[in-house]
C-alpha cells in the first residue's frame, strides 16, 4: 500500500493497482490500457459505397479492445510528499500512478505517455485507450459525461433520448465527448475520471470508464480533411503525455478537482541566485 493519512492505493504482488482505500473503506479498482485497431476500407451507407476508414472525423474500430498484457515493468517510489508507481508496458506506452499527501479533494493521479504509436509493423492504425474498472460498482449501462463543457449529461448504452436507435457500431456508437469529466454511479458510490483535455470516452462494460488518449491512423476517412490522422514530430509519430485524475466520492468533489486541475494556476519562475531570502521577502 502507498499513501498517507488513511488514504491508500493498494497494489497486487505484481505491482498492479488492486484497490483504493479511503478512511477504512476499500474499493477494488483495476486499470488497463489497450488499443482499438482502426478500420480500413469501404462502407455501405444507404446503398452507396464510400471510403469510411477510421480517421480524423470518425472513430471506427475494427474489432474489440486489445489489452496490453498485464506484466509491465514496475518501479515504486515512496516519499513524504508523493508516492508513485511507474509502469512501462512497452516501448511506446507507459504511465505513472501518483498519490499525494494532503491532496484535497482526494484523488489519484495517472500520468500516461503514449507514442510514437507504431503503424508500420502491422499495417493498421491504433487508437489507444485507458480503462478504469471499479469492480463492485454496477452502473447498468449508464454513465455521465460533460460533453457540452457545462453540466454532466446522463448517457445510456445503445440509447438515444429522442428516437429509437439500433446501433450498427456498438463501440463508437456509445462513445461520447468528454470535455473534463466522465463518471459512473451506483447509488452513493460515485467514481469520476477527470481529464486534462477533451477526449472521447464511454462505459462499455459494467463498472468501467474508458478514455481515448491517442490515435494514429493510416487512412483518410473521406469526410473532408483529405489526409490520414498521422501526426509526426521530429520525424516520428507524435508522443502524447497527459493526466487522468481518478476521483472517488461525490460529484462535488470531482467538480473541485476539475477546478483545481483543469483550470490550473499559472506558474511563473525567476532566478533568485545572489538574492538572499530576506531581500526577496
Amino acid at each position: 500500500s502507498l499513501g498517507y493519512d488513511g488514504r491508500y492505493i493498494n497494489l497486487d504482488a505484481n505491482g498492479l493497482l488492486e484497490s483504493i482505500t479511503i478512511d477504512g473503506k476499500t474499493e477494488s479498482v483495476q486499470m488497463d490500457c489497450g488499443f482499438y485497431k482502426g478500420a480500413v476500407g469501404n462502407n455501405e451507407v444507404f446503398g452507396v459505397h464510400s471510403n469510411r476508414s477510421s480517421g480524423a472525423y470518425i472513430f471506427r474500430p475494427n474489432g474489440t479492445l486489445n489489452l496490453f498484457a498485464q506484466n509491465p515493468s514496475v518501479t515504486i517510489v515512496q516519499g513524504d510528499v508523493v508516492s508513485e508507481v511507474r509502469y512501462k508496458y512497452s516501448d511506446w506506452i507507459s504511465s505513472i500512478l501518483r498519490i499525494y499527501r494532503g491532496a484535497e479533494p482526494f484523488h489519484v493521479e495517472h500520468e500516461w505517455l503514449v507514442g510514437p504509436i507504431p503503424i508500420d509493423d502491422q499495417g493498421f492504425g491504433k487508437e489507444v485507450v485507458m480503462r478504469y474498472h471499479v469492480k463492485d460498482l454496477h452502473n447498468n449501462g449508464e454513465f455521465l459525461t460533460d460533453s457540452n463543457g457545462r453540466e454532466m449529461l446522463k448517457r445510456r448504452m445503445n440509447y438515444r433520448p429522442t428516437w429509437d436507435v439500433d446501433l450498427d457500431e456498438k463501440i463508437s456508437g456509445n462513445y461520447y465527448p468528454v470535455t473534463t469529466r466522465i463518471a459512473i454511479e451506483d447509488g452513493d458510490n460515485i467514481w469520476s475520471v477527470v481529464t486534462d483535455r477533451a477526449q472521447g470516452g464511454s462505459s462499455l462494460r459494467d463498472g468501467t470508464m474508458e478514455l481515448m488518449v491517442h490515435r494514429r491512423l493510416t487512412h483518410d476517412d473521406a469526410f473532408g480533411v483529405g489526409e490520414a490522422l498521422n501526426e509526426t514530430a521530429f520525424g516520428k509519430g507524435l508522443v502524447v503525455r497527459g493526466i487522468h485524475y481518478i476521483v472517488p466520492g461525490s460529484h462535488a468533489d470531482a467538480r473541485k478537482v476539475v477546478q483545481n486541475k483543469v483550470l490550473h494556476p499559472w506558474y511563473f519562475l525567476s532566478s533568485s541566485e545572489n538574492i538572499p531570502f530576506e531581500d526577496w521577502r
Binding site: G15, F68, W266, S270
Partner: protein, 183 residues
C-alpha cells in the same frame, strides 16, 4: 494594448471548428501552434506588469512562463540552485495546487519557503526517463521537485523561494520491483 493583439487574433482563429475538434490538416495544426506561441510570448510583458501591480512592486518583476513544463523542461529551475516560483490563480475561488518542477539534480534536496518563512515539505524524485521518454527532446531534466503549496487565494498569487540544501540529509531510496520484460 498592442501586445494583446496576437493572442486576440489567435483566439479568433481557434473558434474555427477544425481547431475545436482537431480535424484540421497537419500543416494547419502546425500553423495554429505557431500563432498561439506568438500570442503567448506577446503576452509576457503585460502579464509581468499585471503581477507586479498585484505584488505592489515598483519595478516590473522579471518572470518566465516556462512553456515546456509539460515536457519536464524549464531552464530557470534546471540551471539555478535558487529560484522563485510564483503561482497565480486566475479563478474566482481558492485552489490548492501540487507543484512539480524539473530540476537538474536527482540527489539534491530543496527547501520551499513562503514569504512568512514557513517551510513547505518538498521531495525530489528521479525523473523516470525510461517511462516519460520523449523522442527528439534532448536535455530533459533528471529530477523532479514536488511540493505542496497550500491554499492560493482567488485572483491572487503565492510565491515560494526555492533553494538547494547545501548539506542534504540521507534520503530514502526508492523501493524498486524486479523489472519484467514487457510483452
Amino acid at each position: 494594448r498592442a501586445d494583446l493583439i496576437a493572442m486576440r487574433e489567435a483566439m479568433g482563429i481557434m473558434q474555427h471548428h477544425d481547431a475545436v475538434t482537431g480535424t484540421e490538416q497537419q500543416h494547419v495544426a502546425d500553423d495554429y501552434a505557431r500563432v498561439l506561441n506568438i500570442g503567448f510570448h506577446d503576452c509576457d510583458d503585460i502579464t509581468s506588469k499585471a503581477l507586479s501591480k498585484l505584488m505592489g512592486s515598483a519595478e516590473p518583476v522579471q518572470l518566465t512562463n516556462c512553456m515546456l513544463l509539460n515536457v519536464s523542461s524549464c531552464p530557470v529551475t534546471e540551471t539555478n540552485d535558487d529560484f522563485v516560483v510564483t503561482i497565480y490563480n486566475p479563478l474566482s475561488r481558492e485552489v490548492r495546487p501540487l507543484v512539480r518542477l524539473p530540476v537538474a539534480s536527482t540527489t539534491a534536496q530543496y527547501t520551499a519557503k513562503c514569504p512568512e518563512g514557513k517551510e513547505h515539505p518538498t521531495q525530489v524524485n528521479v525523473l523516470p526517463v525510461e517511462v516519460l521518454k520523449i523522442p527528439g527532446r534532448p536535455g530533459q531534466a533528471l529530477g523532479e521537485l514536488t511540493f505542496l503549496t497550500g491554499c492560493v487565494p482567488p485572483l491572487g498569487y503565492k510565491s515560494f523561494y526555492i533553494s538547494k540544501v547545501s548539506k542534504p540529509k540521507p534520503a530514502k531510496k526508492p523501493r524498486t520491483f524486479a523489472p519484467k520484460e514487457p510483452t
